[in-house]
């Protein structure tokens, strides 16, 4: 853990530049540029809202807000992983030639998506305003669930980036995994809609606790309870430590396999 934070501090400029490069390259030659980062979740929100509040009719007020309070963080998570999984492999030609601390690549992938997420909070607030949804002061608690989610994402990012070097199918497996995970996480629905008999199994999903913090602060207007903060930070730290451990374990081998 100490090694990780020391490395992050030492290479902060490099990570920042790589993250900016990622964003610049992603939007550089497109006309709408950064708006694509917003358009995609917005379109998803509209489609899902139409389906689940007018067609299927979930008994949830302000379904659009209910949805995006968990959907935006989920998109941050899944996009980060989609970038992180390829991050070491894509920089292979470079890694074979000069020494670059490998851990900067997954971290930069997550950082780029974090910047995207933070920038999308502004339009999100505007959207709530347009939907005439009351603005809760509990937004101020947002950094807490966000921190837990970022730790969690970094851990999984490290894990997938490392495994993908040796086993390229991982990028494809990740896609499937994310789809399944999306539907089994309380994003479209809430845990209360799950029949009590199955609830136990749904509670084993760490994503439940990580997303609940966002939903409480944005949608319910409640401060996240201490137990939830504690458990989500613990989940985040555990994921980060195990992911980083695995990434570190193979550190010397990447140059031969990329």
């Amino acid at each position: 853990m100490l090694a990780l934070s020391r490395n992050l501090i030492r290479h902060r400029e490099l990570i920042w530049l790589l993250a900016l490069k990622e964003l610049k390259v992603r939007y550089k030659r497109s006309v709408l540029g950064f708006f694509w980062a917003l358009l995609h979740p917005l379109l998803m929100m509209i489609v899902l809202t139409v389906v689940f509040s007018t067609v299927i009719r979930f008994p949830i007020d302000h379904y659009a807000v209910f949805l995006i309070s968990a959907l935006f963080p989920w998109i941050f998570f899944s996009q980060s992983l989609a970038y992180a999984v390829e991050s070491v492999v894509l920089n292979g030609p470079l890694l074979k030639k000069v020494y670059v601390p490998r851990l900067v690549f997954p971290v930069a992938a997550v950082t780029a998506n974090l910047i995207n997420f933070l920038l999308s909070l502004g339009p999100l607030a505007l959207l709530l305003f347009l939907l005439q949804f009351p603005f809760h002061t509990t937004w101020l608690y947002l950094p807490v669930p966000l921190l837990a989610l970022v730790l969690f994402t970094l851990g999984f990012g490290f894990f997938f980036a490392a495994v993908n070097v040796f086993f390229r199918d991982m990028a494809h497996i990740l896609q499937i995994l994310l789809t399944v995970w999306f539907y089994f996480s309380p994003i479209l629905y809430s845990i209360h809609l799950v029949p009590p008999a199955y609830r136990f199994w749904f509670r084993l999903n760490p994503m439940l606790y990580l997303l609940e913090g966002f939903r409480l602060t944005i949608y319910d207007g409640n401060a996240p309870p201490v137990w939830l903060v504690a458990i989500s930070l613990l989940i985040g730290l555990a994921a980060l430590m195990s992911g980083f451990f695995i990434f570190r374990h193979y550190d010397d081998a990447y140059a031969y396999y990329v």
Partner: protein, 265 residues
């Protein structure tokens, strides 16, 4: 007495030390192909591993301020040595110690991204090589002057000609304050005027007492610029010393193998 203390004072210190360095590659078909194999190989000690020994216990020093050439046939282990110096690889056994900052001209512009402008790429490459933004800013004008690409610096590098691309990449490496410069065959690229410029720059760096390690097949260039030359063959040092003699032995070696192949054919 005074002569002795003087000789001690100017005794050059080694910048790079190799001590009984072995480097072994695991051949690629040993790679785990399925998830099951991956986990199996992670827990099992190396099984049916087929290894290729690229370096077989070599020891040498590269001294401060010298220009050190490495020659040898393909597969002799030249690039492996450069990669060990650049810390891309770690030796399988033995020690490699590097004293000072390394700048590797191993593949020019490897860190460039085509969509970014020259300026953005300069800062990104600098960061990848471990230089801070402040250091890059102070050197930026020098880089720009050496690269000589004018206002193209703010154009995406995908629009650069090959020459411009190479000039910018070389300018970054040869301008940043390093102690050790590693060069792998780069001087064979670019047009004549660019090559001349590179050679001039190398002479300048030699005068600034940079430690330079060059791998090249261009024997006349090696002879001109190097202080010492190491001849490698099959992962071992055949000769280390005066450039002319190293090259003579290398040509001898080439002639012998050629004669062998002709007789077998």
């Amino acid at each position: 007495m005074p002569t002795m203390s003087r000789s001690l004072a100017i005794a050059p210190k080694p910048r790079i030390r190799f001590r009984r360095v072995f480097h072994r590659f695991r051949l690629i078909h040993e790679r785990p192909e399925t998830l099951r194999e991956l986990f199996a190989s992670a827990f099992r000690a190396r099984s049916r591993a087929q290894d290729f020994e690229a370096l077989k216990g070599i020891s040498f020093d590269v001294l401060e301020g010298e220009t050190f050439g490495i020659i040898g046939r393909n597969g002799a282990g030249k690039s492996t040595i450069l990669k060990l110096m650049a810390k891309v690889y770690k030796p399988t056994a033995g020690f490699v110690t590097i004293d000072g900052r390394v700048s590797a001209l191993i593949d020019i512009g490897a860190g460039f991204h085509p969509e970014l402008t020259g300026r953005e790429n300069v800062f990104l490459t600098g960061a990848l090589l471990g230089f801070s933004r402040r250091e890059m800013r102070t050197r930026f004008d020098d880089i720009l002057a050496f690269a000589d690409i004018g206002e193209f610096i703010d154009t995406p590098v995908r629009q650069y000609s090959t020459g411009m691309y190479l000039r910018l990449a070389f300018a970054i490496e040869a301008t940043m304050a390093a102690d050790i410069l590693l060069i792998d065959e780069i001087l064979a690229v670019g047009d004549e005027s660019f090559q001349r410029k590179c050679w001039e720059r190398l002479r300048e760096l030699q005068q600034k007492r940079w430690t330079i390690v060059i791998v090249s097949h261009d024997l006349s260039a090696i002879q001109q610029i190097c202080d010492r030359v190491m001849l490698l063959d099959q992962g071992k040092i055949l000769w280390l010393g005066e450039p002319a003699r190293a090259i003579a032995r290398y040509q001898n070696l080439l002639a012998c193998t050629e004669a062998q192949t002709t007789t077998t054919v």
